[in-house]
Symmetry: C2
Subunit: 204 residues, 2 copies
């Protein structure tokens, strides 16, 4: 692209460095920003600097937080004996959006992926094992993505945790609520049949 200003070019390059943002999209966004007034552009820019300066990692679970502990770990109502292990903080937001979980979380910060060079040592696994060994934890739910890497990580965690006195569970897999049977893939459908549940009249 033949951009007639080196400042615009730098702004486009910075935006296009974000994953999934192409140069054409970046240019469209930058030209949009250029039309805003100075104050608005300053507020836009400062949002990223203050985010980088202020945001911390919860020392207990690895969630993002404005203080040393996140809102979930600070909440006295949450059940500290129930830990849900997730890959990253977006999974926490997804589970929190359901309002159906009352335990706490543990963020691994990734999953084991030899293809991307991520091994167990790169993840927050030791602190999870330490928590499990305190005797204060009753159950650990492995809530990783249903991919090969997720399964590998689940198995690794299971081996690490099996000596601790905790129940280890995982999310149920099956046909999504509201979806039609013939659209489900074979693996999901076969797991749904294998793990069938007693029919209880309402819901299922």
């Amino acid at each position: 692209m033949n951009i007639p200003s080196k400042y615009i070019e730098e702004a486009v390059e910075q935006l296009a460095s974000l994953p999934g943002v192409g140069k054409k999209t970046a240019l469209r966004l930058v030209l949009h920003l250029l039309k805003r007034d100075d104050k608005e552009v300053e507020r836009f820019s400062n949002a990223f600097i203050s985010m980088k300066k202020q945001v911390k990692t919860c020392q207990s679970c690895g969630n993002i937080a404005d203080n040393d502990l996140c809102g979930i770990c600070l909440n006295p109502i949450r059940d500290r004996s129930l830990i849900c292990v997730v890959e990253d903080i977006r999974d926490i937001m997804a589970i929190e959006a359901t309002s159906s979980y009352k335990g706490v979380y543990h963020v691994l910060g990734g999953i084991i992926s030899p293809m991307e060079g991520i091994g167990p040592a790169d993840l927050n696994i030791q602190s999870l094992v330490d928590k499990a060994l305190t005797g204060e934890v009753h159950e650990i739910i492995l809530a990783l993505n249903a991919t090969m890497e997720g399964d590998t990580t689940n198995f690794y965690l299971y081996k690490k945790l099996k000596n601790a006195d905790v129940v280890i569970s995982t999310l149920s897999r099956g046909v999504a609520v509201g979806s039609e049977l013939h659209y489900a893939d074979e693996l999901t459908l076969s797991r749904s049949i294998m793990n069938r549940m007693p029919y209880e009249g309402v819901g299922g």
Copy 2:
């Protein structure tokens, strides 16, 4: 969305204020930025502030520029008697990318659109008429989008310019190079037939 940090929330809101960027995409990009080091985030943010501070509008054609005049207007090789009228600066980049135009440009800054409340007075039309009346301009090419608003604007410009001693032309419309006839819409195909050209052996 239940974002556990007000700083992240502000950054997500700022990104999602850009056209075409949703909250989920914005969150993904913000979490990506959060993983970068301080220097990189600072460079990212400063790019927008310096762009806003430094970028000027070319006083002659309305293109973006780092100085009072843009690179095209400053170029002594460009033909100043040939002016191509475009809606915005992205059209200049598109035409420049073809390397087949040697004249200068005039950016309208929009097109007449009663639906969006944009009338002739909101566009850089008077300065175009002034240029046409100097007697130094030989031809004006109307290169607006082939939409109803574009056609309306073309007609308005034609009426304003017809008393000046300039040739007024517009881009040729027709079947795109490399495309198949049966995919062209009826209007484009019928214009292609009406405006048929003498066959010259090579190209066409």
